[in-house]
């Protein structure tokens, strides 16, 4: 297992956002977490990347316990997180946002990856010298995904990548996620858009108030009457 989470609890003040979650992601998979707002999906991602300390439980990444690694070490060892709200640096240009995301990389593929991101998102290429703060919501989303690609993570954590995007861009983003996955990156995808997410994912987990209530292959979840009713709208 590339990612192995056991009995994860995340607590903000007195609110138990994640309550005893067990979750595994194998190398090469796309796994999706679906659930309503506040179900604890983002909190799980934040606990994995280290933005949020865990109250209890263990997270293993490639066999290593993450407890002692601060977030920047997790990022350097291969966990790329596209957070909720995107977190674009408005005081940096598009190009600088991408370049900074490759911080600490020692290989000589940085320029090649930059070209790859621009090829995936021609809109970013046009705006490469613009300040991050001038981008539209959709462009910010592209830039956030582009930054994660620049990190060259083994595991890509995506928090609502389709949020606020025009429908044609949503399709595009999901296609890109599949491409990235085929090129060898494991993906853990949090989505409100359960239909789209389950279509590209291999497996999925359904969360409700911080607990996993259902897990299985995407095809099984897509066919599950409860999932269809609650998350797919039919």
């Amino acid at each position: 297992m590339l990612l192995d989470i056991a009995d994860l609890w995340v607590i903000y003040d007195r609110i138990q956002a994640v309550r005893g979650v067990d979750l595994q992601v194998a190398e090469g998979e796309i796994v999706t977490l679906i659930g309503a707002n506040g179900a604890g999906k983002s909190s799980i991602l934040r606990a994995i990347s280290g933005l949020q300390p865990l109250a209890q439980g263990t997270i293993r990444f490639a066999g290593q316990d993450l407890a002692k690694w601060p977030p920047q070490i997790r990022a350097q060892r291969g966990i790329a997180h596209v957070p909720e709200g995107r977190g674009i640096f408005g005081s940096l240009t598009v190009q600088e946002n991408l370049r900074l995301a490759a911080y600490g990389r020692r290989d000589d593929q940085i320029q090649a990856d930059l070209d790859r991101v621009y090829a995936l998102f021609p809109r970013l290429a046009e705006r490469r010298q613009q300040w991050g703060s001038t981008l539209s919501g959709g462009e910010q989303q592209m830039l956030a995904v582009g930054r994660a690609l620049m990190r060259r993570g083994r595991l890509l954590l995506l928090d609502e990548p389709s949020m606020g995007l025009a429908p044609f861009l949503v399709k595009e983003i999901f296609r890109i996620i599949q491409d990235i996955n085929r090129q060898g990156t494991t993906v853990l995808l949090v989505e409100q858009n359960a239909n789209q997410a389950l279509k590209i994912a291999h497996r999925g987990y359904v969360l409700e108030t911080g607990e996993i209530i259902l897990a299985g292959a995407s095809t099984a979840l897509l066919g599950n009457p409860m999932v269809r009713k609650a998350y797919l709208g039919h």
């Binding site: 990347s49 920047q72 990022a75 977190g87 640096f89 600088e96």
Partner: protein
């Protein structure tokens, strides 16, 4: 020399010399504010320590039986001073500010004032209150050009300051470290996701800001060669105003503010025929500016798009 233009130019040259020192110190205030939104009130005292360190370094190098060329003595003192003030700045952040990173801003500011008092009184206790004379390592040579007199020391101060400012500007605008600094000032929480250690960049910021203040101490000592443990207070305040006038958090603003304040300090006594009002002019200017342009001359209001 009686030509009014030449006289004005003469004063302007003096303003540039003093402004350079203010600008160098203002940079440190501005960098730390940019990254931590905190005023490091001990910064003026780091400048003072720098001036003393520079004095010792030059005395030591002059005392060596090597008969070193002047340029080596100057560069050696500069390197020594900048290294030690960098270490001092980093230690202050590590020991005094970092433990308070999550505490209310007021706590950090009060701590900074405390650190400043400590540096002043530690210097007072160990070195004593008597003003110290900086050795004149550089034999002063007067030049005259079109009725304006200037010295090699003045030129040195201007040139060294300019080099440091250009280096810093390049660092902040062009390097990965500079990008990380700007990223932290925009959204510190997200920065670790880029693989960047926020603590490391903050340490570097303190190192660079303090090293530049140390260089300012050396240059100040060359131009105004009398040092005392409280010299950092007034100069620190003026440099702080310079940073705010220019737009605190903005590197080029700090430089601009430094020269504006240098000009105010030199020209006020000339225009008012008294130096009594120098400080009140400077502070009034600050007040008026902040009413009309709260973010300073080059500061931009922060607009965040979500």
């Amino acid at each position: 020399m009686s030509c009014p233009v030449a006289i004005a130019l003469q004063y302007l040259l003096n303003a540039l010399q003093l402004g350079s020192v203010y600008a160098l110190i203002a940079l440190g205030y501005s960098m730390v504010y940019g990254i931590l939104t905190m005023i490091n009130f001990a910064h003026g005292d780091i400048f003072m320590v720098g001036a003393y360190l520079a004095m010792w370094a030059t005395l030591f190098l002059l005392g060596l039986p090597l008969n070193l060329p002047i340029i080596f003595i100057f560069l050696g003192s500069l390197l020594f001073t900048m290294t030690l003030t960098a270490a001092l700045g980093v230690s202050i952040e590590r020991l005094a500010y970092r433990p308070l990173r999550q505490a209310p801003k007021v706590s950090a500011v009060i701590t900074a004032l405390g650190v400043g008092l400590f540096l002043e009184n530690f210097t007072l206790a160990t070195i004593g209150p008597e003003p110290r004379q900086v050795p004149a390592i550089i034999p002063v040579q007067q030049y005259s050009w079109g009725g304006v007199a200037f010295t090699n020391v003045q030129l040195l101060i201007l040139v060294v300051s300019l080099i440091l400012m250009v280096l810093l500007d390049t660092l902040v605008r062009r390097t990965l470290t500079g990008m990380a600094m700007r990223a932290i000032s925009y959204n510190r929480v997200i920065v670790p996701l880029m693989g960047v250690s926020v603590d490391r960049i903050i340490s570097l910021t303190f190192a660079i800001g303090s090293a530049i203040a140390g260089a300012g101490g050396l240059l100040y000592g060359l131009a105004y060669p009398v040092l005392d443990p409280y010299m950092g207070i007034r100069i620190g305040w003026w440099a702080f105003i310079a940073a705010v006038v220019g737009g605190i958090g903005n590197i080029r603003g700090a430089v601009l503010g430094g020269y504006v304040l240098g000009t105010v300090e030199i020209f006020t006594p000339v225009l008012l025929a008294s130096s009594t009002y120098r400080d009140s002019v400077a502070f009034s200017m600050l007040l008026i500016l902040l009413i009309f342009k709260p973010t300073g001359l080059l500061g931009r209001p922060t607009v965040e798009k979500v």
